[in-house]
Symmetry: C2
Subunit: 217 residues, 2 copies
């Protein structure tokens, strides 16, 4: 069983691994986890001793099979708690991350199975991210960035790839929330901004925003 801190490292390494085939760098971890590179090196050695990561000096780390399992479990717990906070306690989607960050470390497996059942086995968290099932299996449906669509394309908002409060509050304000149907009405050539219709209203989003919204066609 891992400590609170070890779990945080595993989770961060897992998230950083998703963007790359190659090993995760010490500095990248340090930045994400708000600590110094030297501390990361120390922890990496500890995780390597426990066979949770493969590590060669100066070469960064990769999760082992068992490290990956542990990480996915943490992600599962985090996302289930986010669903609970939004669906049952009426938190907004931009308010839940920090609380889930604490709740994810509660260890009882029985608790998580029952929570999953209580929430009716949700497949996605409030940001559209998939929730691993109890065997660690992830729904591998891949969504398309709104910025990749063409004029006339229709789709459903399924998630976001940027999780900051400012961004989520902005989406909330302009009405771009999970599950809504959209249709692209125009794409401005020179700045890539997108005009779309949603619930019979026309709104305009910048290319920056469009890149962070995930769509199912």
């Amino acid at each position: 069983m891992q400590s609170f801190t070890e779990e945080n490292y595993l989770k961060i390494i897992y998230h950083l691994s998703l963007n790359t085939e190659s090993a995760v760098q010490t500095n990248a971890i340090a930045e994400r986890i708000q600590t110094k590179a030297a501390s990361v090196t120390d922890m990496i050695k500890k995780l390597a001793d426990k066979k949770l990561v493969d590590y060669k000096k100066y070469q960064g780390v990769k999760l082992t099979e068992s490290g990956k399992n542990a990480a996915i479990n943490i992600v599962r717990r985090h996302r289930l708690w986010e669903v609970f906070l939004v669906e049952k306690l009426n938190f907004k989607w931009d308010e839940v991350h920090d609380i889930a960050e604490e709740l994810e470390h509660i260890k009882s497996p029985e608790l998580i199975e029952r929570l999953d059942e209580f929430l009716a086995f949700p497949r996605n968290d409030p940001h559209g991210d998939p929730i691993p099932d109890k065997n660690g299996k992830l729904d591998n449906t891949v969504f398309i960035k709104l910025s990749k669509l063409k004029t006339g394309d229709k789709g459903l908002i399924m998630g976001v790839s940027e999780h900051s409060s400012v961004f989520l509050q902005h989406l909330e304000k302009i009405g771009l929330t999970l599950g809504k149907q959209i249709r692209i009405t125009e794409i401005t050539d020179f700045d890539g901004s997108v005009e779309l219709s949603i619930e019979n209203k026309q709104i305009n989003v910048s290319r920056e925003v469009a890149k962070s919204i995930l769509i199912k066609i």
Copy 2:
């Protein structure tokens, strides 16, 4: 804001204070918290520096006003989570203590207010213990031990003063659960065991058991 460990000490000191007017002894804390007296002395000094306890060498500790507030807050969180686990996730009353022990340290006050609301502001936890309100106020209804009743007395089972799994499972098995109506039909003089009728059945409980069941007449 206190650490996980400091919170545990405050909680234990609070519980031990309930049984006595005088200061709580180092050894008593050590026994409850599964640690050594020397460690307790160290932590007590830290809590005293933070003005959470009053401490004079060799004289034990008492919670200060602010220490007591902190402790009551932890108790509130613990008991609310116990209600959640039993009412919403269908845990049995003897299964929830350890999980609530972890959940009670999640810090967000907003979370607790919303949880309280979600549970419809329960007044008691699954063992009948009162839940402090958000101002720390405790319902001061005092219940009577079943062992104090006389033949013919009627009452409702409101709680238990012993929380071990074995005991709770035993009560569950013989049907003595929260909220049920009972009537004393006979008290055996020589061993103090109590015969009572509950839901038209006659059952017999030892004096030991009777002392740990709390009744509202």
